[in-house]
């Protein structure tokens, strides 16, 4: 089961300024405040992360588009 995490407006704006990987999605790495990095995460519609665990949007420090 995947958890859907809605990103903050700031992160959405950033993602929409970057190219897609395919129609409707991007692949990103996310850096969390606790130092962890989660790689190869799918983002749908520039706003919704698909994750194996739920993460509070406020705990996401940075998103890097691959």
């Amino acid at each position: 089961m995947k958890f859907k995490v809605k990103l903050t407006e700031e992160k959405i704006k950033y993602l929409l300024s970057k190219p897609e990987k395919g129609m409707g999605y991007q692949i990103v790495d996310i850096k969390l405040i606790d130092g962890r990095i989660i790689s190869d995460v799918t983002v749908l519609n520039g706003e919704e992360l698909e994750l194996d665990e739920y993460i509070e949007p406020s705990k996401i420090l940075e998103i890097i588009v691959r």
Binding site: I12, L16, P19, E20, G22, M23, G24, L44, N45, E50
Partner: protein
Amino acid sequence: MFSQNLPRFDLTQAPTAKVVDVNIINGKQAFQQGMLNIKMFSNVINENTSADKQQEEKMQVQEAFIRFSHFENDKRIDWQNRRVLPGTYAAPIDDGLECIKKKDNINSRYALPNSLVIKFIFYIIPEIGTFLKRGIVEPANNYLGGGKEVIFTRGTNNYSVLKTDEIGLDEV
């Protein structure tokens, strides 16, 4: 959704083109009536690689495209200006409609994540001179891909997104 103040597109530069008044006809109807029988995929793709690995080119003739989406409020579309943002993918309209007609698995053909259940299609007719890259969808998301794809490297012009249709696979 887009019923007012749409421009009239003159497609006469294409080989078999006619004029389509998009103010009174939507993209699907136009295609069904042969009015979008324009040169839709003008350049031969020499390599079976994804669009992002190809050379950027300028669209030389009038072409039409389809974007499949799970979201009616697709955020890659600037709804105020009815244009797509730079870095947005679509499919040539012939490839997209063939997929629908044959009831192919859209996610498979365009290697989309399973969670993107396609519900909407957007018709895109950018102006000649639009920058894009063309390619073949590479395997991803456990699918082989194989469909034709384009990426609008610099986005499209205002009013190039003409119509939204809720997808009905039996209707095309």
